[in-house]
Symmetry: C2
Subunit: 153 residues, 2 copies
C-alpha cells in the first residue's frame, strides 16, 4: 500500500499470499473456531472435501499480508510504517472452502478515496479485497475502509 | 444457540466472554496483525491509550465464544453439535479499542429466520452480534448470517 496521497481509485495491488497447512488450520481452530471440520481431516472431508480453514483464519491471513505489504512499502521509501486503523468492513464473503495445502493470494483494488470530513488530517480509502486460491478460484472477498494519515495535512 | 426450529426473531442470548491479555494480544498480532500498537504497550498508548487488540482478534474471540455456546447447548440436549456454516458477514464495526486487561462479553440477537429457498433442508438465521467491555461500553458489532440444518426437513 502506498501513502494516501499516492492512492488512486482503480489501483490494484497484489498483497501477498498465505499457505494454509493442516498444522496452522488446526492451531487457529483450536483457539478460535473449534469445530470438527476445522480440526479433523475426516470431519472436514464430509462437509468441505478436506480439512478446511476457519473463515476467520482466511480473513486474519489477509490482514497479515496487507500489513506486511504496507511495511515493505514504507521500508522501501525509508519511512516509518503508517498505522492501519479501520472502523470496520462490509460484505465479507467466504465463497469457497480453503483446504489444507491451499495457497491463497490476496489482492486489493481501490474503490474510492476521500479526505475525512471530521478529521482532515486523515484520508479514507475504501477497497475491494479478494483472495484467490492456487487454482485461480475466488474464495474470499470483502470491502474494507481504512484511515491513512495525510502527509500534506 | 438453539436448534433452527427453536429460534425466534428477537431472541437475545449471551454467548460468553473473552479476557484480552497483553500475552494473547501480542500472540495474535505477531501472527496476523504485526503493527506496533498491537505488539508494544508504549506504541499502543500513543494511538489507543494502551496495548490494543487487533480488531480481527476481537472478531475471532466472538467466533470462539459462539461455537462454545453452541457446543454447550448441544451437549445439554445430548445431541451432536451442528456445524456453523456461514456465507459471510455484514457491517462489522470496531467501535472502541479493546485493551490488555479488558474482558469483552458477546451477545447475539436474532434479526430474522427463514428456510433456504434453494436448500430447504437448511435454515438461515440472521443475527446482530455485539461485544461490550467490562465498563458496559459497546466495542464491536456485526450482522451474521449462518446456515443451520433443519431437524424437521
Amino acid at each position: 500500500m502506498s501513502r494516501f496521497e499516492d492512492i488512486r481509485t482503480g489501483d490494484t495491488r497484489s498483497l501477498g499470499s498465505f499457505a494454509f497447512t493442516a498444522e496452522n488450520i488446526r492451531e487457529f481452530a483450536r483457539k478460535f473456531d473449534p469445530q470438527p471440520f476445522h480440526l479433523d481431516e475426516e470431519a472436514g472431508k464430509k462437509v468441505f472435501g478436506g480439512l478446511a480453514a476457519s473463515g476467520w483464519h482466511v480473513t486474519a491471513a489477509w490482514m497479515k499480508v496487507m500489513v506486511e505489504d504496507l511495511q515493505r512499502g514504507a521500508a522501501a521509501r525509508g519511512e516509518t510504517c503508517e498505522p492501519v486503523v479501520s472502523p470496520g468492513f462490509r460484505d465479507l464473503k467466504w465463497l469457497k472452502p480453503v483446504l489444507a495445502g491451499d495457497t491463497v493470494s490476496y489482492q486489493s483494488k481501490v474503490i474510492s478515496t476521500r479526505v475525512s470530513g471530521k478529521r482532515p488530517q486523515w484520508g479514507l480509502v475504501q477497497s475491494l479485497n479478494t483472495g484467490t486460491n492456487q487454482h485461480g478460484v475466488l474464495v474470499f472477498s470483502f470491502e474494507a475502509t481504512v484511515f491513512l494519515p495525510r502527509k500534506t495535512a
